[in-house]
C-alpha cells in the first residue's frame, strides 16, 4: 500500500489555519474594534482553543458511540439469527431520520438534564443512521459471486468476512462513518443550546447579536473543523477504494 502525502496536504494546511485562527483571532478582533471605534466591553471568558477542544471531545465521543452502535445494529440485521428484527431496526432508523436534531436535543433535556451527557446521547441518535445504512449497503454491495467462490474454495465463514467481505465493503462503511461524523459536527453546534459547550456557544452568540465579527468567530472554526474531518475520512476511504487500486 504505497503511501502518498498529496491527499493529506490540504488537511495539514487547514489544521495550521485552525490553530492560527484560534490563537490570534481574539487580538485581531479587538484591534479591529479599536480601529472602527466600536467599544466592545465584551470580555470573552472563553479561549477559542478550549471550545474547539470541547467540540472535538463531544464529536469524538458521540462519533465513537454511534459508530459502535451502528455497526452492531448493521451486523445484527445482516446476521441470520436476527433477520426478524431487521425490518424493525430499519423502520426505527427511518423514523429517526425524520425527527429534526433540534427536537431531539430538547426532548432529551428533561430526561438527561443539561450538559455534555445529553448532547452525546442526542448526537448518537442522529449519528447512528448513516453508520447503519453504510454497513448494510456496504456488505450487501459485495458481489455475491466473489463470496460464493470464496466458500467454494473452502474458506471458513469467519475468514471470508475478515479477508473478503470487510475489505470490499470498507469504502461504503467508511462513507457511512464520514456522513455520521459530519452530522455530529453540525449537531454538536446546536448542542450548545443545552449547555454542552463547544463552538456552538460562539455560534449562538453570533446568531443572537448578528455582529459580523462575532459571526466570523463563531462560524469559521466550525467550518474548518468539519472540512478537516471530511478530508481525513475521504483519504482513509480512498486507501480501501478498490476501483482505483492499481499496481503501478
Amino acid at each position: 500500500m504505497k503511501y502518498e502525502l498529496k491527499p493529506w496536504l490540504p488537511v495539514l494546511i487547514l489544521i495550521v489555519l485552525l490553530v492560527l485562527f484560534s490563537l490570534f483571532f481574539q487580538d485581531i478582533k479587538f484591534k479591529i474594534y479599536d480601529l472602527l471605534g466600536i467599544s466592545d466591553a465584551w470580555e470573552t471568558r472563553y479561549s477559542l482553543a478550549k471550545l474547539i477542544g470541547q467540540h472535538i471531545v463531544i464529536v469524538f465521543y458521540s462519533g465513537a458511540i454511534s459508530i459502535v452502535i451502528g455497526v452492531i445494529l448493521g451486523a445484527l440485521s445482516l446476521s441470520e439469527r436476527f433477520k426478524e428484527i431487521r425490518i424493525l431496526i430499519e423502520k426505527a432508523v427511518y423514523l429517526f431520520q425524520m425527527i429534526p436534531s433540534l427536537a431531539l436535543l430538547t426532548i432529551l433535556v428533561p430526561i438527561f438534564g443539561m450538559g455534555q451527557k445529553t448532547a452525546v446521547v442526542a448526537l448518537v441518535v442522529c449519528g447512528v443512521l448513516p453508520v447503519y445504512m453504510g454497513v448494510v449497503a456496504g456488505v450487501n454491495g459485495v458481489p455475491s459471486d466473489v463470496i460464493e467462490v470464496a466458500e467454494g474454495l473452502g474458506m471458513p465463514k469467519l475468514r471470508i468476512y475478515r479477508q473478503i467481505v470487510l475489505p470490499l465493503a470498507m469504502p461504503v462503511i467508511l462513507a457511512g462513518f464520514r456522513t455520521s461524523l459530519i452530522i455530529n459536527v453540525s449537531a454538536a453546534t446546536l448542542a450548545a443550546k443545552i449547555g454542552a459547550g463547544g463552538l456552538g456557544i460562539l455560534l449562538l452568540n453570533a446568531l443572537k447579536t448578528g455582529k459580523t465579527m462575532t459571526i466570523i468567530e463563531g462560524t469559521i472554526p466550525i467550518c474548518l473543523l468539519a472540512i478537516i474531518f471530511d478530508i481525513c475520512l475521504k483519504n482513509i476511504e480512498n486507501i480501501f477504494y478498490v476501483e482505483r487500486k492499481s499496481s503501478n
Partner: protein, 313 residues
Amino acid sequence: MKKAISMVLAVAMMATMLVGCGKKSEEKKVVNADDPIVLMLPSTSEYEIIGYMTLLALEKGGYACENKIGAISGLDMLREMMLSDECDITMGYTGNGMYYMEEEGEKVWNSLQDGYARIKDYDKKTNNVDWLSPAPANNTELLAVTKEFAAANNIEDMYDFAEYVNNGGELKLATPQYWVEYAQGLPGMEKAYGFKVAENQLVIGAKAEKEVSEGTDGMNCTMIFTTDGRIDELGLYVIKDPLEIPPVYAPCLVAKGAVMEAYPEIADLTNAFMKTLTTEVLIGLNRKVDSEGADPETVARDYLVSIGLLDAE
C-alpha cells in the same frame, strides 16, 4: 391506483387537523381604517401579555391594529424592527438602552427614571422614536437557587452567595453566553461582591430554571429574569442584590414618532394599564402563562377587565 388514494387520504387528514384549529379575530368599528397600527412584539410571554393589553386597549379606543404579536422571535430582531418602518408600536426595556447607546457599565442605567429619560430623548432625537411612560417594574437579571439550597447555606443576598462560593461551596451555574461577558452581568457581580466562579462551575448555553428546581445533573444555580412567572412553582429563591449591579429593565411601549403625532391619544390609552404593572403584577401575569399554560390573550383581557379598563363580555 389504490396506493394513491390512501396517500391523498393521509394528506387530507393532515390538512383538516390543522386548518380546523386556527380562527382569525373578528371585525370592529374603526377610527383609522385606512392604515392600521402595526403592533409587532417578540414572542416571549411578558412581551405577548403587554402586547395584547395594548392591542385590546387601542381597539377599545377605536384604533384598528394589525396584530403581529410574536412575529419577532429573536430579541435581537427587536431593535432592528423598532427602528424599521415595518412596525409602528413595539415594546422594549429601559435597561436595553445601555446597549442601544453602547454605554455599558454607566451607573445611570441603574435608576429607572434616569435610564428611561436618557434613552427616551436619545431615541427621540436620533431615530424619532417615542418611548412611552414605563411600567413601575424591574425585570432584571439576577441569580436564583432553590429555597432549600438558600436555607441550607443561609444565602439571602449576594454577599452570602459570595461567601458561599469563596469557601469552596459546590456550584453549577447555568447562564446564557451574553450574561457571562457583559460588564453588568456576572463579571460585574464578581467584582462588586468579591467572588470568582471557576469555568468548570459554569454551564454556558441557556437559563435552566426547571433543571435547578429538579436538581437534574447537579445544577444548583441559574440566572433568572426577576419577573419570571415560574419562580414560585419551581420553588426558587432570587438572591437579593443590594448593590444593584444590573441595570433596571422597566418594560415600556415604544412607538414611531409619526404614529404618536397622528394619534397622541395612544399615550394615555396605554399608560392607563402600564402604570399599574408593578413587578409583582407582572410575575402574577407571567405565572398564568408560563406555569399554568393559559393563552396570553385571555390573560391580558382578564387583567384589563380586573382593572376596569375593559367591560367583561
